[in-house]
Amino acid sequence: MPDIAIFTDNLEIYMKGFGNTVWASVIALLGSFALGTIIAVFRISSVKPLRWIGTAYVEFVRNIPLLLVVFVFYYGLPSVGVTLSGFICGTVGLTVYTASFVAEAIRAGIMSIPAGQTEAARASGLTYMQTMRHVVLPQAIKIVIPPLSNQFINLVKNSSVLGVFAGFDLMYYGDQVASKTYATFDTYLFVAALYLVLTIPLSLAALQLERRLAKNG
C-alpha cells in the first residue's frame, strides 16, 4: 500500500512538475501536429526537392533517440551562440521528434486514399491544394486518428525527457521527491499516476473522435 503522505506532503512539488509537463505536452502536441503535417505534404509532393527534404527529415529525426535530439538543442546550440533553457530545449526537441512520426502517420493516411480519387478531382479542374483540402484530407483524417493518438500519448510520456535537462517537469520533480523521501517506489508510483491523469483522457478523447467521425462518414 503506497504511503499517500508522500504525495500530500510534496503536493506542491508534484503540481509544479505536473503543470510544466502539461505545458510542454500541449505546446509539443500542437507544434508537432503542424510541423508533421507540413513534412507529410513535403513527402508526397510531386516537387522532388521538397520530397527529399521531407524524407531526409523523417529518416534522420525518427531514427535517433529522443534524448539525443534534445541533447543537440541543449548542449549543441550554445556552441553557435544560442542558449535555451532545459524546458524550451526539451519541448522543441519533443516537437521535432514527434513531428517525424506524425508525418509518417499522416502520409500513410493520405496514401491510403486511392489515387483514382486524386486523378478524378484533378481532372474535374481542382488544383492540387483544393484536391487535398476537399477530397483527400477529409477522408485521410479518419484513418489517421488512431495512429496519431498513439503518437500523442507517446509524446506525453516522452516529455519526461525534460527531467534529464533540468526542464522542471514531473519527472524532474519526481527525482527530487525520491531523493528527499528515499521512498523511491512510492514516489514514482504517484508520478505514474499523474501521467495517467493526462494520457487516459487523451486515449478516451481519441476514441470518442474516432467514433464520431465514423458515424458522420
Binding site: Y75, P78, G86, A166, A178
Partner: protein
C-alpha cells in the same frame, strides 16, 4: 607466520573490547591489557611492528580521480593520497618505497583497518564525530568541502557572489543541493543526473557555476583548464588519516610526519602536483 597474525588479531580484538568497555579512560585500559602476558606485538606498539616489518601498509582508493586512481595501462596507483602516503613512509621508515598499497572503498576501509589488514587509511576520508568512535584521526591533511567551479573570468568569486537568478548546477539527490539551498536560497538550482551532465551543462553555458565537493571540482578543472575552483569551501569536510584506535605512537608519528611535510614544503609540492594551486594559509 599465520599463527602469529592470528595472535595479533586476538590481542587486537581483546584490546578493542577493553577500549570499548573502558570508555573514556581508553589509554589506561590499553596499557593494562598489554600487560596481560600476551606478546607485545599488538596495536599498542603498532609503530614498532611497522618498523620491524620494514613496510607501511596503506589503504587508498583505486577509483578516485586526483586522490587515488589506478592507471589501467601501467597498473600504478597514483594521486594526492598516494603521494601523501609515500611521503609518510619516507618519514617513518626513511624510504618512500617501503610501502604497500591496498585498495579500500568507503565501505571496506574501517573493517580492514580494524582487521589489521592495513596500518593507516589515506583515502579521502572525512573526519566525522561518528567515525571518531571507531578510529583515530590524524590532523587534517586536506580541507575538503563543497565549493564552486566556474569558467575562468567569471564574476563569481565565492559563495557570496551567488545572487538571485544565478544559475547553479548540481547533481540530483546529493547533499550539495541542500547545502547550496541553505547558503544561497535565491539561486536557481538546476539538477542533473550525474557530474558529467552537469559539467557539460556548465561548459555549454547553461549555468553560471557548478557546485559539489571540491575534490571532484578540482578533477573537472584538470580535465578542462578553462574552468577553475573559486572561493574557500563553504562546508567543512576535512580529510584525515585514520589509524586504529589506541595506536597512539603511530598516530603521533603520523602527525609529526605531516608537520614535517608542511615545514619542508613537500606537502605544497604534492598539493600543487595534484590539486593545482598551493593551499592558502596552512
Amino acid at each position: 607466520m599465520k599463527k602469529r597474525s592470528w595472535m595479533t588479531l586476538g590481542v587486537a580484538l581483546t584490546f578493542l573490547a577493553t577500549v570499548w568497555l573502558a570508555g573514556c579512560s581508553s589509554k589506561e585500559g590499553g596499557n593494562g591489557n598489554g600487560a596481560s602476558g600476551e606478546p607485545a606485538s599488538g596495536t599498542a606498539s603498532a609503530l614498532e611492528s611497522i618498523k620491524s616489518r620494514g613496510k607501511l601498509v596503506v589503504g587508498v582508493k583505486y577509483d578516485t580521480k586526483l586522490f587515488g586512481l589506478k592507471d589501467p595501462a601501467s597498473g600504478n596507483v597514483e594521486g594526492f593520497d598516494v603521494d601523501i602516503a609515500k611521503a609518510l613512509a619516507k618519514e617513518l621508515l626513511g624510504d618512500e618505497t617501503k610501502i604497500e598499497l591496498k585498495e579500500v572503498t568507503s565501505k571496506t576501509r574501517i573493517p580492514m583497518l580494524n582487521n589489521n589488514d592495513i596500518d593507516i587509511i589515506v583515502a579521502t576520508m572525512t573526519i566525522t564525530e561518528e567515525r571518531k568512535k571507531e578510529v583515530d584521526f590524524s590532523d587534517v591533511y586536506f580541507k575538503a568541502g563543497q565549493s564552486l567551479l566556474v569558467k575562468k573570468g567569471s564574476p563569481i568569486k565565492s559563495i557570496d557572489d551567488i545572487k538571485k537568478g544565478t544559475k547553479v548546477l548540481a547533481v540530483k539527490g546529493s547533499t550539495s543541493v541542500d547545502n547550496i539551498k541553505a547558503k544561497a536560497p535565491d539561486a536557481t538550482i538546476l539538477e542533473f543526473d550525474n557530474y558529467q551532465d552537469a559539467f557539460s551543462a556548465l561548459k555549454a553555458g547553461q549555468g553560471d557555476t557548478l557546485t559539489t565537493d571540491n575534490a571532484i571540482l578540482y578533477g573537472m578543472a584538470v580535465q578542462d583548464p578553462n574552468f577553475e575552483v573559486v572561493g574557500e569551501p563553504f562546508t567543512d569536510e576535512p580529510y584525515g588519516i585514520a589509524i586504529k584506535k589506541g595506536a597512539t605512537d603511530l598516530l603521533n608519528s603520523v602527525n609529526a610526519g605531516l608537520k614535517k611535510l608542511h615545514d619542508s614544503g613537500e606537502y605544497d609540492k604534492i598539493y600543487e602536483k595534484w590539486i593545482g594551486k598551493a593551499p592558502s594559509g596552512e
